[in-house]
Subunit: 362 residues, 2 copies
């Protein structure tokens, strides 16, 4: 199955010169005469020579590829992040190797081992929901292996991080619900281990308090696998709606939770926003098409990917070890639509008018 490739040796043999001369000629070294260079170049062209990146990697101890670990590729948010990562990597001559942990700690560890044994120059990672032991990352990081965290980050390892202002996104979303007359706002969130959960739930609570509401822990539901298991969401909704004081609004803190929540409500026959309003973190490009048009806090996912890989390349390509690390915080955008507006006021009507200018994403 192997298909033999033409190497620098083939050129050397064909021209009766040494491989070093060929190598230097190809790299346009000053110590090769113009005539020889031309000869080599022509021959390389004729033989359709392509340098072997693997040999180069071995020599230079760098593969010009970077690894990406996310919990799931087929997810609006993550696929957009990967899009951003790939676009910069392409420009800078790097390959991106993606793998998914599927929210499994075990797989994350294996993925990491697999990627890290020097086949990639650095790593971009958003932690799996199961991950609370970080020793696999710590040992690598201690050896100087470049890592940048994004989205689901950790404070335990000191390196670059890029996230959105989750606190603010949640705060704004919650406050928006309050301002629209909601009194009993529930939140459906991911595992409590995740940084995004902390920050988003904190933003939610702070908004309640700042607006004179009480925090009711019965209104705080966690889905450990973030909705990968659909029953989790159904359970959460069930718990919320079998309480004495049923919520009049739900704030879902991730893409999958938001859509899962909407599906469950629909199947249960609950009308949005009449029975319960909904706002959720989501990067779907069809929020405006949902019934009702969905109020979302949208993350600049592509920008996050770009920022993450730029920081990583900075780490990789730096001459001396970097000791100062950056936590880049991007701004999420609250896109207000009808799912969060009670039909009582005439606000809904205004909304329809406002619908057009709101962010025409391609």
């Amino acid at each position: 199955m192997k298909f033999e490739a033409v190497t620098i040796k083939d050129i050397a043999r064909a021209l009766g010169i040494s491989t070093s001369t060929v190598s230097r000629a190809l790299r346009d070294s000053y110590e090769i005469s113009p005539e020889t260079k031309q000869l080599v170049l022509d021959c390389a062209e004729k033989l359709n020579y392509r340098p072997n990146p693997i040999a180069l990697s071995l020599k230079e101890r760098r593969s010009r590829s970077i690894g990406v670990i996310v919990c799931e590729i087929a997810n609006n948010f993550f696929s957009q992040v990967i899009n951003g990562i790939e676009s910069i990597a392409y420009d800078r001559g790097y390959n991106v190797i993606v793998s998914q942990s599927r929210e499994s700690y075990e797989r994350e560890v294996i993925d990491l081992q697999y990627l890290a044994s020097r086949s990639v120059d650095g790593l971009l990672i958003s932690l799996s929901t199961e991950t609370n032991d970080l020793s696999h990352l710590k040992s690598l990081h201690a050896k100087g292996f470049p890592i940048v965290f994004f989205d689901r980050i950790t404070e335990e390892i000191n390196t670059h991080r890029v996230i959105v202002d989750n606190f603010r996104g949640a705060y704004d979303a919650t406050e928006h619900l309050i301002k629209n007359g909601h009194k009993r706002i529930a939140v459906i969130s991911n595992s409590e281990f995740l940084s995004i959960t902390h920050e988003r739930v904190a933003g939610y609570k702070e908004a309640l308090i700042a607006n004179g509401h009480e925090v009711n822990e019965h209104y705080v539901q966690h889905c450990f696998y973030g909705g990968m298991i659909f029953e989790e969401i159904e359970d959460a909704i069930n718990k919320l709606f079998t309480q004495r004081n049923k919520p009049d609004a739900i704030f879902a803190t991730s893409d999958k939770l938001t859509t899962g929540c909407l599906k469950t409500l629909k199947r249960r026959g609950l009308k949005v926003p009449d029975d319960v309003s909904v706002v959720g973190f989501s990067n779907t490009d069809i929020a405006e098409l949902i019934d009702p048009p969905l109020t979302v806090v949208r993350q600049p996912a592509i920008e996050m990917g770009k920022a993450a890989i730029e920081l990583l390349l900075q780490l990789i390509e730096s001459k001396r070890p970097i000791k100062e690390f950056e936590k880049r915080i991007l701004t999420p955008e609250l896109q207000i639509r009808e799912s969060s507006i009670k039909k009582t006021a005439k606000v809904a009507e205004d909304l329809t008018l406002r619908a057009k200018p709101i962010h025409l994403q391609e």
Copy 2:
């Protein structure tokens, strides 16, 4: 920035034995004594030795990684395909390197060069919309480089292919519209160069003919960039609705076209399905949440990814060159919801009842 790694030499030096012995001990060769093996294994463990895959690649002339080229990662269909690809690759010990052509021929060529110069063992590709010259792929294929096409394929290169039954998907969708009383069914499709366009438009036309309808070329609109440029879709819709006989149904043949179409209709104030029905190819997981719930032909994207990489690995790992190639055709699924049902009949009501059992995708 380099971080030194422990090699087989370090173990050899530490134990005062040769590298060949270490290598053999690690591979559990029969010609190494059990004691030495244990010694080596312990030492490797203690030093936290990890084999260098790059050195291995150079030696064995295989990288255990495969390349994937799609036009866009952040797309429901393609991200699901990549999901499938990654899952099998993971099991079989391969890395997946993804890159996106962004529908550009030029980028596809560069991506290919970049991947193919023996840094990947094989390629999975869905062609860009601009691609009609296939020489970049042909030359590689001629050298024996393993390639498998999926989704947007070509007949010009003889190798494995995996697609869905596009003809049937389109036929079923169109016939469904006809059976529901639609008389003037338009189609919005991708570039005419694309295989998927051919097949889907052919299915559409055949369904019309088989049901006694005429094919009206004014009802066939093409968007060259498949909706990456939003104006394309708006133009197509404009053309359709400025005709004397406005269509009473639209069949959109891709994910982006479908959602783009829906957005345009909504912004134009056209109600679905009252003013015009819609059915489209789409792999969104929230079709049921759209207003109105969207009838889609859904492709088994994950399965497509899995099939494609399995065929590729078969190509890669085969001892002798394979001459018999397979065209694997998966079956798309028509998921009927309300967007394609005229409100006149009481069909709509039935539909609501049927809504639940329809495919609970996680």
